[in-house]
């Protein structure tokens, strides 16, 4: 069913009884050309682009829970492409361009809102670093604007601009094309789009093993029986280590929990995404009025989708320092998502040591904004059995070979990026 103004009017006049399911609920077939493990945004986007751009429609997406129930539904929905290193900058900008046409492409409103993102500057050294990043962005064709404190005040008037605070605001680096989107709609839109092109989306189907014959994968063992596959793509960030353990592969990844929080709904206050530069805090406002914010990882290995109180205290302290008017708001909801923290802070997308097994993971806490680009390059990699130019640097081998994509210059560390 095509969604349009006309379909809305037609349904309104007929009592809204004609809406159909957005996607089917098929039983798994015995064999597929391609199986994607993981029915989050990345896996669904991969299936969608495999069918749409590469004509590969005999595809199943296997999801252990429900579509978009993992990190796709557990983030702060921020979208940006303000990276410095070429590989990251070009990949995330490609993703940004896909975001800009996504609602039309999917015929599904993902509520992409380019309200901009603003990174605050508090020290001279930080201004130098941000100017360098901004210039690198401009050279890669990405939009970037440097603001002084007056410029920041126009964008975010209710920040603490006093000179008495420990790290006064000196300015900010903005990417006006950044913004937010409705995270669930992204998963649903890709699921519907892939389904319409013939992809089977199979929920409540947990992969429990990967069957191999030497260096070739034959298919996957699941909670609903064995399913054969010509190629298998894994897009399960948060649980990559668990899935690759099934084939005896160890990854440069630790799983950590990142918390996010939403306040009670208030009138419009924050009309951009804003990040604190003297601590780790980021905030935006949802269309329902709740302020959505987050900060640091809890900092220890965990697969539990919940965090602890010390991190909450730390995040809120940062937020209230940046924006004192937050102090009397009540937090309504809090959740945790399990992050694939890679050793250099950048993702891993490409081939593995096993011929027809492909990896898409290591997204750290930046996977949501990458969803369209990630699916796009992963589909291309699977269809052509070689990485696309945009993901050729995101290999597993880069760590051993000494070519990490360490945006922060923090060294080999899973929780410092």
């Amino acid at each position: 069913m095509h969604y349009s103004g006309l379909s809305l009017v037609k349904q309104a006049l007929t009592g809204n009884r004609g809406w159909t399911r957005a996607w089917r609920n098929p039983d798994p077939k015995k064999q597929y050309d391609v199986i994607i493990i993981g029915g989050g945004g990345h896996g669904l986007a991969t299936a969608y682009y495999l069918a749409k751009l590469h004509g590969i429609t005999n595809v199943a997406v296997l999801e252990k829970g429900y579509v978009g129930g993992g990190n796709t539904g557990r983030n702060t929905t921020i979208i940006r492409s303000n990276y410095m290193l070429n590989a990251n900058s070009q990949f995330y900008e490609h993703s940004m361009k896909l975001w800009e046409g996504l609602s039309q492409d999917l015929n599904y409103n993902v509520m992409f809102s380019q309200r901009g993102i603003l990174n605050l500057i508090h020290t001279d050294a930080q201004r130098d670093a941000f100017a360098r990043r901004g210039n690198a962005m401009l050279l890669n064709g990405v939009d970037a604007v440097m603001h002084d404190a007056e410029g920041v005040k126009k964008l975010m008037p209710h920040l603490d601009f006093s000179q008495n605070t420990r790290f006064p605001i000196q300015g900010g680096l903005a990417q006006p094309r950044g913004g937010t989107a409705r995270h669930d709609a992204v998963a649903w839109g890709y699921a519907r789009g892939a389904d319409q092109l013939g992809v089977d989306i199979i929920q409540q189907c947990e992969v429990t093993g990967i069957k191999r014959d030497g260096d070739k994968v034959l298919g996957v063992e699941t909670s609903r029986g064995f399913i054969g596959a010509g190629q298998v793509g894994v897009a399960v960030a948060g649980n990559s280590s668990k899935v690759f353990d099934m084939v005896g592969m160890k990854l440069p990844i630790e799983s950590h929990v990142l918390q996010a929080f939403v306040t009670e709904g208030i009138k419009p206050l924050v009309d951009t995404v804003c990040t604190f530069g003297a601590g780790h805090f980021y905030i935006s406002q949802s269309d329902k009025g709740g302020l959505v914010f987050g900060g640091d990882l809890d900092g220890y290995n965990t697969y539990a989708q919940r965090g602890n109180l010390p991190t909450f205290n730390h995040v809120v302290a940062g937020g209230v320092t940046m924006m004192p008017c937050l102090s009397r708001l009540r937090v309504l909801r809090q959740w945790g998502g399990v992050m694939d923290m890679s050793m250099d802070g950048s993702p891993i997308i490409g081939k593995t040591a096993i011929d027809n097994l492909y990896m898409n993971g290591g997204w750290c806490y930046g996977g949501f904004k990458a969803t369209p680009g990630s699916g796009w390059v992963f589909a291309d990699t699977i269809a052509n059995d070689k990485p696309h130019n945009l993901n050729k640097d995101f290999t597993l081998e880069r760590f051993r070979e000494g070519y990490p994509l360490d945006e922060n210059g923090a060294g080999a560390s899973p929780n410092a990026h």
Partner: protein, 98 residues
């Protein structure tokens, strides 16, 4: 809130500690292969379940300790001083005073 028992100071809140990661990694010898070194620096078991890990009681006695903790439930099974984790007869290769 994790409640971690420091072997020297007793049970304390997690915010007195800082996390040091997987405690089962063994440092290769200086002339070991690139592969061995890359495994040590980059690769982690990252188990879902029991994990043996280092913590430092950084806002307390500053000692490093080894904690066995469940990464699914956050249950802590045991804590011990960090030094005896080395197999018997094996000399520590960490730090300058070896």
């Amino acid at each position: 809130m994790l409640r971690i028992e420091c072997p020297w100071c007793g049970v304390r809140n997690e915010d007195e500690f800082s996390y040091g990661g997987d405690a089962t990694l063994e440092r290769p010898s200086d002339d070991d292969s690139i592969e061995a070194w890359s495994r040590f620096v980059h690769t982690r078991k990252n188990p879902a379940g029991k994990h043996t890990e280092h913590w430092q009681h950084v806002n307390g006695c500053r000692a490093w300790i080894v904690v066995e903790r469940n990464t699914l439930t956050h249950e802590i099974y045991s804590t011990a001083p960090a030094s005896p984790i080395l197999p018997a007869g094996k000399k520590s290769t960490r730090g300058l005073n070896t």
